[in-house]
Symmetry: C2
């Protein structure tokens, strides 16, 4: 069995009291695509997008991407 990567963008959004709409504007990708990202439906991510996410949320990569081991 394989582990998984959890997107914790929700958590950071709550902490920053920021909406998905605002985040998408700050990052510069459409709301629809941000939703895909946020809900773990993306199969890859551009480094440039990761950078803008960290920037917009003022956080570390580890705050939004978490590896979850399979038991």
């Amino acid at each position: 069995m394989e582990g998984n990567i959890i997107f914790n963008i929700d958590v950071m959004l709550a902490k920053r009291k920021m909406s998905v709409t605002e985040l998408s504007e700050r990052v510069g990708i459409t709301l629809a695509n941000m939703s895909v990202l946020k809900n773990g439906k993306a199969k890859a991510i551009k480094i440039s997008t990761l950078i803008k996410l960290c920037e917009a949320l003022d956080c570390q990569v580890g705050d939004i991407l978490e590896y979850k081991k399979a038991e």
Copy 2:
């Protein structure tokens, strides 16, 4: 100015006393491509590759990907 993402695979490899060759075999991508990844030349990364990296190095995403703010 924009921040950047640093790949810290080297650090984890040293900690695990593992060679790039072995890591590439474990992750299941070619040595050449692992080198690109490791040295921050990749512009995107598949989530599946990230998972296998965390698995092989027994670490968190934050251990290998670090956001570095621009000053």
